[in-house]
């Protein structure tokens, strides 16, 4: 009944019959394709050829197409190939396949050197576009702020509080844990190296300046970019994909005011709080290690810290935090609103959001370093 498919050649007078037998279905497609390719070599011969399919046990689109392909390639030239013995069950399938034009449109994607150069060029030219997009979003957000200041009732307090919970309250444990550990590590490394000069106590100076000015806020900003920036991009991106943002617009709402502003505000409020908590946790961790590992008792640590650190260091750190939050928020929202229809696009923009967010945070940190050095803080 069923069995491996075969294509036998039987000479009948001056005609050649190709007898197809067995199961001509998708599961046997590789074997079928080989047989058909073999038989195609008969094309251009002197005899008339017909393909006898009366013994075929089972036929599906794959089998029907391969028979049709064979018929087409044998028909070239003067000889006409015919399909014979087609059962009523399968004739409609073969007819259906016969209507198909055999020229599939296949795109060719070859990697060439000029193509790669072109890609690099486009990426570099795109950088300008990125910056323009960020400035554009900054302007839109400021316009929304102005609108909210004039019409305070249009401010979305519930949404802002919800996002505050997500990006601030729920981030506290992980931020505190990580900054605590970083404080411990800085302190341990400092003591380990300073001990050789007998300068153990200076680890307190280093820890204080580093944590309050730089590491505290920078580390927290990078973590927030990874944690909340990516979430913003994914949220806005999937809303864009499902036309929710278009729906908002048609109802007369400004997506910037409804979606972006509460998120931005939440982030700008959250980052200073997180940076403060992070700095305290890092100092605590550093102090703990200095005491247990370096033998600097807590009282000496606090005294030294009071001498070494002025309020300026703390202010420098806190001033940077909201600006970095704004940068992260703007990058995340721009990327989110740039998502196109596919899941792949959502992934690309979420990645870009985190990468660009971290990049701009570090750039901002450099700019601040120059600025504070110039004004002598």
């Amino acid at each position: 009944m069923s069995g491996d498919p075969k294509l036998e050649r039987i000479a009948k007078g001056n005609a050649l019959a190709l007898c197809a037998t067995g199961t001509w279905t998708a599961s046997f497609a590789p074997a079928l394709e080989r047989m058909v390719a073999d038989a195609e070599k008969l094309a251009g011969g002197p005899q008339n050829i017909f393909i006898d399919v009366s013994e075929v046990a089972k036929l599906d689109t794959f089998g029907a197409w391969l028979i049709e392909r064979l018929r087409r390639s044998l028909t070239k030239g003067t000889v006409e190939a015919q399909i014979a013995g087609l059962s009523a069950n399968y004739s409609s399938l073969v007819d259906e396949v016969r209507r198909v034009s055999a020229t599939p449109v296949v795109e060719t994607s070859t990697i060439t050197i000029s193509g790669m150069l072109e890609q690099i060029g486009r990426t570099v030219a795109g950088l300008g576009g990125t910056v323009a997009g960020l400035v554009d979003m900054l302007g839109a957000v400021l316009a929304a702020v102005a609108h909210v200041l004039i019409h305070p009732r249009s401010f979305r307090l519930t949404s802002t509080v919800h996002h505050m919970e997500q990006v601030c309250w729920r981030a506290v444990p992980i931020i505190v844990l990580i900054t605590f550990l970083i404080g411990c590590i800085i302190s341990q490394q400092g003591i380990f190296h300073f001990r050789r000069f007998g300068a153990d106590i200076f680890v307190v100076d280093m820890l204080g300046v580093l944590v309050l000015r730089e590491i505290g806020v920078l580390l927290v900003a990078i973590m927030v970019a990874g944690r909340s920036g990516s979430a913003y991009t994914a949220e806005l991106g999937s809303m864009k994909m499902r036309e929710e943002i278009d729906a908002l617009r048609t109802m007369g709402f400004d997506p910037i005011e409804v979606l972006v502003l509460p998120r931005m505000l939440a982030l700008v409020l959250a980052l200073p709080i997180l940076a403060f908590l992070g700095a305290m946790a890092a100092l605590y961790g550093g102090g703990l290690v200095a005491w247990l590992y370096g033998g600097v008792d807590p009282e000496a640590f606090l005294l030294r810290l009071r001498d070494a650190i002025s309020i300026d260091h703390f202010i420098v750190g806190m001033v940077k935090a909201p600006v970095m939050a704004a940068v992260i928020g703007i990058v995340a929202c721009v990327e989110g609103l740039a998502v196109q229809g596919s899941a792949e696009s959502l992934g690309q923009h979420t990645t870009a959001s985190v990468v660009k967010g971290i990049f701009f945070v570090i750039v901002m940190d450099g700019v601040f370093a120059i600025f504070f050095a110039s004004i002598g803080m």
């Binding site: 794959f62 259906e96 198909v100 020229t103 599939p104 596919s342 899941a343």
Partner: protein, 260 residues
């Protein structure tokens, strides 16, 4: 051949016995029995929220059931091992309500995806079969290189059908195939399902709300209500039924518009 066909008609292609599905404390399906015969187009109707999609998803194994047994192609899906299950899955195609095309692949790659996984055939044959499938579902060859986000709703349904058919399955599940299509498009789709059923010898399990589909495409109709099949039979049986929901469904204002 004829004998095999005889035997096949006697044992159903899908055999659902005493199925119970529960979400939390709500019982969606309650001891439901259903047979789908080989080669028929079964229309599956019922009020919104009655659990039509749940039954479909239970049969294809996406929703866990509390009790009961499901046999597809004579294989009990609960006691089968993974290779038997794969074999069954290879022989069915599913058209999801929203199409569920892979958004990062082109139409051509979407249709070739199951072929690439299950068959070892040349790229040339896959391309040619893809073109054949596209032609069968009534789409132009140019569509092949487009992404799902660039297609209209009707085209998405057609591409999704082409993907469901890509391995030449014996059984296809269609979840509301005509919802969201204009009446002409929906009518075309019904004709398409009929034609494909004839040419490929498919068995079709179709969840639908569309009265036109029931009249023009379906051989048999099963009605779901209160977690059970409340009626099954031809369209004439349905019209003759005295069940209140069926009377309303088949003799309501919209139904009269279809019949006349």
């Amino acid at each position: 051949m004829a004998q095999e066909a005889q035997g096949a008609i006697q044992d159903p292609i899908i055999r659902v016995r005493d199925i119970t599905v529960q979400f939390g404390s709500t019982r969606v399906l309650d001891g439901l029995d259903l047979d789908v015969k080989r080669g028929e187009i079964l229309g599956f109707v019922g009020p919104s929220g009655a659990g039509k999609s749940v039954l479909t998803r239970t049969i294809i194994g996406l929703v866990p059931k509390v009790a009961g047994s499901i046999e597809v192609f004579g294989v009990d899906l609960d006691s089968s091992n993974s290779s038997q299950r794969r074999n069954v899955e290879r022989r069915w195609g599913v058209l999801f309500q929203q199409g569920a095309l892979f958004s990062s692949l082109t139409v051509r790659q979407n249709i070739q995806f199951p072929m690439r996984e299950y068959l070892r055939v040349s790229q040339r044959l896959m391309d040619e079969i893809t073109m054949a499938k596209l032609a069968m579902v009534g789409l132009k060859p140019e569509v092949a290189e487009r992404f799902p986000s660039e297609l209209s709703g009707g085209m998405i349904k057609r591409v999704a059908l082409a993907r469901a058919l890509s391995l030449d399955p014996d059984l296809v599940f269609l979840d509301e195939p005509t919802s969201g299509l204009d009446p002409i498009g929906a009518g075309d789709f019904d004709d398409l399902v009929r034609t494909l059923q004839r040419t490929l010898g498919l068995t079709v399990f179709m969840v639908t709300h569309d009265l036109d589909s029931l009249y023009t495409a379906c051989d048999r109709i099963a009605v779901l209500g209160n977690g059970k099949i409340i009626a099954a039979g031809s369209i004439a049986d349905m019209q003759a039924s005295q069940h209140p929901w069926l009377r309303q469904y088949f003799h309501g204002k919209r139904a009269r518009a279809v019949v006349t």
